[in-house]
Symmetry: D2
Subunit: 166 residues, 4 copies
């Protein structure tokens, strides 16, 4: 058959709870090391968090036929997902415990067509500017030869999380 895929995921409530009681960088390191379960989206679309340090996060994906759009290439929404994750987690990696973020926007520029022949792609997110209420990040999607395939910017809003109820 070939054209079938099965995936499993874990309860995302575990993650959302952990995100609220840890600094961003610690939360992301736990995710990367597998000490917290990856979020469901990572299983759905099959991408992984490969690197994280303060102000920077890198995700990778190997495109498959299951990501194809009707016109014979990988759907732009797949890269948008990776780029949004990379930009958002770069911002999250800078937040102390008690602060959270939400993405206000994502602007993606599609520079090259991506197919199953493209191989593994990496989305490298970095923080460009950080204020008290908002942060701006960019993310670059590159192939194995570091050619730029897509580029994104994302603005995030920063806010204090309400303390956990006892």
């Amino acid at each position: 058959m070939g054209r079938t895929r099965t995936y499993q995921w874990e309860d995302p409530a575990i993650l959302a709870e952990a995100a609220g009681r840890m600094a961003g960088i610690d939360f992301l390191r736990e995710l990367k090391e597998g000490r917290l379960p990856a979020p469901p989206i990572n299983y759905s679309i099959d991408f992984t968090l490969d690197e994280v340090e303060p102000g920077r996060a890198v995700f990778s994906l190997t495109s498959g036929e299951e990501h194809y759009n009707p016109i014979g290439s990988v759907h732009g929404g797949i890269f948008a997902t990776l780029l949004d994750s990379a930009a958002g987690c770069a911002v999250q990696s800078t937040l102390p415990q008690g602060m959270a973020y939400t993405s206000l926007d994502l602007t993606v520029k599609f520079l090259r067509r991506i197919t199953v022949d493209t191989g593994t792609v990496r989305a490298i997110g970095t923080v460009i500017s950080q204020g008290r209420q908002t942060a701006l990040a960019q993310a670059q999607l590159v192939d194995g030869r570091d050619r730029l395939l897509a580029h994104a910017t994302s603005s995030c809003m920063l806010f204090p999380v309400p303390p956990a109820r006892k």
Copy 2:
């Protein structure tokens, strides 16, 4: 188990070939009616083309836990995928046989958080402006009460497809 999902898809080469020999609106109508197989991305992310007419395309999705990000809501990349499809297919619906398009960019504004409680969402794409070489479309993501959840614009490049080789 519950937290497992299996999906199948069909060979996307069939679609890419059909796209090249039909007017955009005819191709999209065949897709909508199921006379052409849906592209793999529709199975991966589980969304459907519900409506198409010249200059307008509507997709819908019922968010599931498998779309969740690490911070307890549906990942923005899922809406980006729907919005990109809606904007792109709105443009495609206006193209005569022999013309194709590619998305140059996608700008998404995330207006409301989406969870499994949001229910079915619809992405309504419409063409704003069409030139000879480029077209601009917008897409609006709404819930069952027509509240705006996200908004996108996308510029597409238009180009003649090379004739099929014999």
Copy 3:
């Protein structure tokens, strides 16, 4: 000589003070009626506020040679200025006394080249979505035949103004 222009403007501090003590719609109506002085930018670039109602603002400009870029058409920054004003004032028109806004971003799509032959253009700003902390507006630049020349979206942050110090 011909290629010379002189303009005057009034103290912008008068305006900023008035903006703080009036509802947005009242402030903009005073501006439109000339009971408050137009801001300096309107004199520099020579555009006017023509219409304002809650959630909508319209500015117009007649392009002149003094707006030209090096490649023989009106500089995109001129339209960006009009579109930013129209989007921002559409948002401002919805704010009660005590609330202010600042633009977080502006995304402009340039659809048609503009020259001195284009005549008077209008930027029509409307609010698309309004939350407690942010609002999204769009603006459309049209010519005298209502052809779309450029399109913009802008996200604004909303915040309470500090009360005036005695």
Copy 4:
């Protein structure tokens, strides 16, 4: 009076003609050195081209009260003008004789409020990616201490110029 300003400019047709018969970098160097007249927009808004090399262009401006919006700071359209110039000229600097460009879009993120106290600001444009038909550039607006005030990306379309008619 103080609040008055007079400026002059030169026939922009000279420039548009020169742009058509020179490589981008040569054209921009002539502009920078003053061997070609600056375009009218530079006189209207009072900014200058300070640096140009292949793939990079830098403009500067000293904000004045004449650039103020109604809410007590420099109008975002002024920075948009600088950022659009920096991004566009970075692209132009890479084009051989016979090729021209037009900006398809401009996405500006406003990061800090700018007033007359901000002093001289610089918009640094660089090319991020260049294809045959499109190029992507970014521009950063910084103050005298290199703090980021605004950030922009711009996609440009590249096309051959028609040969001059005899």
